[in-house]
């Protein structure tokens, strides 16, 4: 069993066997993270470029740590330190960097389709760390890893994704992945932040939070960007919190053994109360730790090292 593609562009079209392979592989890397010496020589000799055209703290650090723990040589390029401002095209930038002989690229970019674009102009393996509102596959993989860790399975669970569905790449990747793994998926958020024909993803669509939560196992709460008020998608933060803020009261509607997730960064008191974020059903910090393991697995599986028998 190996991955079909040498890139990870998104979870759309990735099979259940492939997702299971990544999650299974991540289990052993998760153990490494708990060791006193958190380092293995797996990716020695591999150079990874982290290309971050959008501000990111946790995803960037997570990938950087994953690379270091696998003994890869890694460098990070962010928009601020680049020649982007001088008007160099993305293609020229990446080709120049690739000429310095790199093997893998982790890319975060504000435009949908950029990871695919890079597969067309570079030889490196491309890993999508978030493109526009399109996909963020490693986030969805770590979410699934975390759910599976708790329940021992994914199939048959009810997962509700709450918030700005329209602009969320995390939601899209979660939908593809969870559906492939046999979960029942619902999305919930203001109708202005539900994209056109969202039901065609094969999800249940709610604008009433209580209805959405009824019978759910997992609640994955997305960050709401308060700037959405200016574009007329939202009225006020107060109203958003009243309608869609997840509180202890509302979680009573969930199955007993429920789980609360958030990909971060959180707006405490807006989409989630501190009580819930820090409560016993929250796996938010566990998600962060698992993120490293999942990213190590993805880097390893795409590097070709496995086929080399190393």
């Amino acid at each position: 069993m190996k991955l079909q593609s040498r890139h990870l562009i998104g979870l759309e079209g990735v099979s259940a066997d492939e997702i299971s392979l990544i999650l299974d592989t991540a289990v052993s890397f998760r153990e490494i993270i708990e060791r006193p010496i958190k380092k293995v020589p797996t990716l020695r000799g591999i150079t990874v470029l982290n290309l971050f055209y959008e501000p990111s703290t946790r995803t960037k650090i997570s990938f950087e740590l994953a690379e270091k723990r696998l003994s890869a040589d890694s460098i990070t390029f962010t928009k601020a330190m680049s020649s982007v401002k001088k008007g160099e095209t993305l293609k020229d930038t990446v080709r120049n960097i690739e000429a310095m002989k790199i093997n893998m690229v982790v890319v975060r970019h504000g435009s949908s389709g950029v990871p695919y674009f890079l597969t067309q102009c570079m030889d490196s393996n491309i890993i999508n760390a978030g493109d526009g509102s399109h996909e963020h596959p490693t986030q969805a993989l770590l979410d699934m890893f975390t759910i599976r860790q708790k329940y021992g399975k994914l199939k048959g669970l009810r997962v509700v994704l709450i918030g700005d569905v329209k602009h969320s790449r995390v939601v899209r990747s979660n939908i593809w992945g969870l559906k492939t793994m046999g979960c029942s998926v619902a999305v919930c958020g203001p109708s202005t932040l539900q994209p056109y024909e969202v039901e065609k993803f094969g999800v249940d669509v709610y604008t009433d939070l209580d209805e959405a939560l009824d019978g759910a196992d997992v609640v994955n709460i997305m960050r709401i960007q308060l700037e959405r008020q200016q574009s007329g998608f939202l009225a006020t933060q107060r109203e958003y919190t009243n309608l869609f803020g997840v509180t202890a009261e509302r979680l009573k509607l969930l199955n007993k053994n429920y789980t609360v997730m958030h990909p971060g960064p959180m707006n405490r008191g807006v989409e989630i109360t501190p009580e819930i974020a820090d409560g016993k059903s929250s796996v938010i910090l566990e998600q962060v730790t698992n993120g490293q393991a999942v990213r190590m697995a993805v880097l390893y599986l795409l590097s070709g090292k496995r086929e080399d028998g190393e």
């Binding site: 293609k91 602009h167 056109y196």
Partner: protein, 438 residues
């Protein structure tokens, strides 16, 4: 040697001219840059042909001979972006695509919003391989604020006005423009997409934009814009032409307006009857980014119905050259537009004629007689004494679109690699062969 009576003859072709109601095999004689005679095959016409030297005879046997085609919607980029296209290079592309007349849009730099720029364009076009008619700007610098000097533009030769590239968002200005332009009996060509609804949108709003996480341009953005313009035209008169119709809703709105005797006409472009928005996710090809965006199968069906029942009057290319470096970028960073002068005929043949929706006569009418009528152009027919602008098409010839064959300075076409049927074999401008298939 006997004195030449004719300069050129096109023999044995199937001559189709909807303006004349002509449609059978005949010989076409040309003299002094004009159509001298169309004659059926008989002893006398044979004799005339036999007396002519070979180099003055084009054998069009098995081919279709039609009035030189008119593309009423092209962007020639000069002045301002001569790296992308010049009037000369654009006209070479037109000739190779079978168009002897093109109408260029005013969104150049500077914009064609004054007499001097109209004159500049026309002077550049004098020796080009196609006739160029100018569409002037509705508003100064295309800003949508104040009317340009439309009377002056018309005096200098403008045949229509448009703020193409964008919509005349202010309804009061559009009302004034319709009223004002009616003094000169020229149409206003509307790029009908509401700015607010379509702001920052990079593709059709549909499940595809949802799936790809891209900002959509909703179909209703076009429908609302078309309806507003129709209502204004109904109120104040004037002549309205809707450019590049892309939605089923707009086709229906135009159909109803025509039934109500509103003076509205419309065009469609090949991308809106050949391409669908689900193609974008395949390769994020920025050549598929165009405004209005490529839509859905249902829209294509409605557009074809509109072409068939006459709701849609014209077929135009919206030829929009863009530099390679500007298109070879992130999808949402690329400027909208695709070139089309050299692919339109093949796409019309393959997707409209071969599929049985339009006859050759119908298609030719939409690229000759109808645009000539709308813009009041003295071309588009093979009537005796008309300019000898003629297109000859090898109707069943199969060919593959190749990047290197584009004569445009820009190569931004999503159709590269497509296999089409129907290839231009000759283009003749005022009796001069400007393209001979080589």
């Amino acid at each position: 040697m006997k004195k030449q009576i004719y300069d050129l003859v096109i023999k044995d072709g199937r001559v189709i001219d909807p303006a004349l109601g002509f449609g059978h095999v005949a010989h076409l004689f040309i003299k002094d840059g004009k159509i001298a005679k169309i004659e059926n095959d008989n002893i006398s016409s044979r004799k005339k042909i036999d007396s002519m030297p070979d180099e003055n005879v084009i054998d069009a046997a098995g081919k279709i001979v039609m009035p030189g085609l008119i593309d009423m919607h092209v962007h020639l980029r000069e002045p301002g972006r001569e790296d992308e296209e010049t009037i000369v290079s654009g006209c070479q592309a037109a000739a190779a695509g079978g168009f002897t007349t093109v109408c260029c849009m005013p969104n150049t730099d500077p914009a064609i919003d004054n007499q001097e720029t109209v004159k500049f364009v026309l002077s550049r076009a004098e020796l080009a391989d196609a006739r160029v008619y100018v569409v002037g700007a509705v508003s100064k610098m295309l800003k949508g604020e104040e009317l340009s000097e439309i009377g002056d533009l018309v005096k200098a030769g403008a045949v229509a006005i448009s703020d193409d590239g964008g919509y005349v968002q202010n309804p009061q200005l559009m009302r004034n423009a319709l009223e004002y332009a009616s003094m000169f009996n020229i149409p206003i060509i509307s790029h009908a997409e509401d700015d607010f609804l379509c702001k920052d949108g990079v593709m059709n709003e549909s499940f595809q934009s949802t799936r790809l996480g891209m900002k959509g341009r909703p179909a209703v953005g076009e429908v609302i814009a078309v309806l507003r313009d129709i209502k204004l035209c109904e109120l104040v008169g004037g002549r309205l032409h809707i450019a590049h119709v892309s939605t089923a809703g707009a086709v229906e709105a135009i159909r109803l307006a025509k039934a109500d005797c509103v003076d509205v006409t419309a065009e469609v472009c090949p991308q809106h009857f050949c391409l669908t928005d689900d193609m974008i996710g395949e390769k994020f090809d920025t050549n598929l980014r165009v405004n209005p965006p490529i839509r859905t199968k249902a829209d294509i069906d409605a557009i074809i119905k509109g072409l068939v029942d006459g709701t849609i009057d014209c077929i135009a290319s919206d030829h929009a050259p863009h530099a390679e470096e500007e298109k070879d970028v992130e999808f949402d960073q690329a400027p909208p537009g695709m070139i089309g002068l050299q692919t339109t005929v093949g796409l019309v043949k393959t997707y409209l004629i071969d599929k049985g929706y339009l006859s050759w006569a119908d298609a030719i009418r939409k690229m000759t007689q109808n645009p000539a009528r709308i813009l009041n152009l003295p071309v588009g027919t093979l009537k005796v004494d008309s300019p000898a602008d003629i297109t000859i098409i090898d109707s069943d010839k199969k060919w593959t679109v190749k990047k290197n064959d584009f004569r445009s300075k820009s190569k931004n076409s999503p159709f590269v690699g497509w296999k089409l049927s129907g290839k231009v074999s000759h283009t003749i401008l005022g009796g001069r062969v400007v393209y001979d298939g080589k």
